[in-house]
Symmetry: C2
C-alpha cells in the first residue's frame, strides 16, 4: 500500500493503527503530566479520542500489563513506557532531502524537535540553496554529499521532500548510506530494500478523503 | 480517533483505506493516460501498490461494475469514474487558516492545484502578515474575516494550520461559516459539529511509526 513497514521477526505484529493511537495517548499523557495530573483510566483516555475503553486497554496490552484495573494508570509510568515503546526515550537525528516549501516546513516544525527528532543534515540539488546556513546552524549540502554525511552522522531516519521525479534517486542514496526508515512526501512509486520502512505522507490523498465525503454525503 | 468522518446516510460504508487506495489508483491511471496507455487489469494496478488483485477489484466494486473480467479496464473510463467518486470532476475552493511554514507549504503545493483544490482565502492572526498579497493574488486576511469571506466564496473545505492553542477557535469560525470538511494539522482535541468531517495530518505521529519500527526491529 501507500506505506510499507517490514514485519518484525519473532514479535507480535502490532497494527499500525494501534501504534498511531499510542502516539496520541503519549501526547495526551504529556499534557496531563504538565498539568500535574497523576492517574488516568482507560475510559478517560478513550473519551478524549472517541474510542471504546476496551480499544485503549487492548492497545496497551500489546506491551504487557500496565496499571491496575479500577485504580487507573500512573501517568508518569504509562507515558514513560509508551515513550520507550515508540523510541522516544532517545534522540533521533534525521536527514532531510529537499529544502523546498514542504522540506523547510518539516525542518521548522517545532513539535518534532520537542519529541526528540532533530534534522542534522539537509540536502538539495539547487545550487542557489547549497551552502546556505539554516537557523539551527545546519548547512544545506549537495545531493552527492548524502552518502558521506549520513554515514558520518550515523543517521537512520530520512525525510524525502523532493519532487516525484527525484524521489527514487534520493531514496537510493539514503538507503545505500544506511537509512532504515523514510518519511516520504512525493507520490509515485519508490523501491527500497526489504528491511527499510517507508511512511507516506500524501496531502492530496488526505484532501480527497474530504472531497469524497463532501461529494457523497 | 485521530480523524473523524461522519457516516453517510443510506449508503454503503466504504472504509477510508479503500478511499485512499482509490486516490492512489486515480493518480496512477492519470500518469498511464498521459503515456497513452489504454487499458489496465486489476492485477497490474495491484502490482504497483503491492496489493492482492482481489483487493483492487473489491475497492472498485463498491461503486458498481467497472470493466470486464479478462479484458481489463478502460483507463479513461476508470479514471473518470474514480474521479467522479472522489469529487475530482469539479474544482474545490478552500480556506486556509494559518500562513506559517506548514500553511504556506500547503498553499504552494502544486499537486493540490492540479487536482482541482484551490486555496481562495488565507487567514492569519499576525498583523505583519495581514494584507500581504500572495503569489496567486490572494490577500491574507485577519481571522475575524473568516465568516464573511467563507460565506462570500461559498467555501466548504478548510485547512487548519494554526498552533494547537488556536485550533478550536479557528475550527469554530470555519464551521459556523459553513465549512463542512477540515484538513487539520494542529494536534490536540478539536470539537466540530456532527456533520463536519475532520482529517488529521500529524507528522509527529507519522514519524513515531518509524521510530517505533527502528526501535523494535
Amino acid at each position: 500500500m501507500a506505506s510499507h513497514v517490514p514485519a518484525m521477526k519473532d514479535k507480535i505484529k502490532i497494527p499500525e493503527s494501534a501504534i498511531r493511537r499510542l502516539s496520541l495517548y503519549h501526547r495526551h499523557l504529556a499534557s496531563l503530566q504538565s498539568l500535574g495530573v497523576e492517574t488516568i483510566s482507560s475510559r478517560e483516555i478513550a473519551t478524549v479520542y472517541g474510542l471504546a475503553p476496551f480499544q485503549v486497554r487492548k492497545d496497551l496490552s500489546y506491551f504487557g500489563t500496565f496499571g491496575h484495573r479500577g485504580r487507573g494508570y500512573s501517568i508518569i509510568k504509562l507515558r514513560e513506557k509508551i515513550g520507550k515503546i515508540l523510541g522516544l526515550d532517545r534522540a533521533w537525528t534525521m536527514a532531510l532531502v529537499g529544502a523546498g516549501n514542504i522540506g523547510m516546513a518539516v525542518f521548522r516544525y517545532q513539535e518534532l524537535r520537542s519529541q526528540g527528532f532533530k534534522i542534522a543534515a539537509v540536502f538539495d540539488s539547487d545550487p542557489k540553496k547549497i551552502g546556505k546556513k539554516l537557523e539551527s546552524g545546519v548547512v544545506i549540502k549537495a545531493l552527492d554529499q548524502i552518502p558521506h554525511e549520513v554515514q558520518r552522522l550515523g543517521i537512520e531516519l530520512g525525510v524525502l521532500a523532493v519532487p516525484s521525479e527525484a524521489a527514487q534517486a534520493a531514496a537510493d542514496s539514503l538507503t545505500a548510506a544506511g537509512v532504515k526508515a523514510i518519511l516520504c512526501f512525493p507520490s509515485g512509486q519508490i523501491n527500497v530494500p526489504k528491511d527499510v520502512a517507508v511512511k507516506r505522507v500524501n496531502l492530496g490523498v488526505d484532501l480527497e478523503t474530504l472531497s469524497y465525503f463532501l461529494t457523497n454525503r
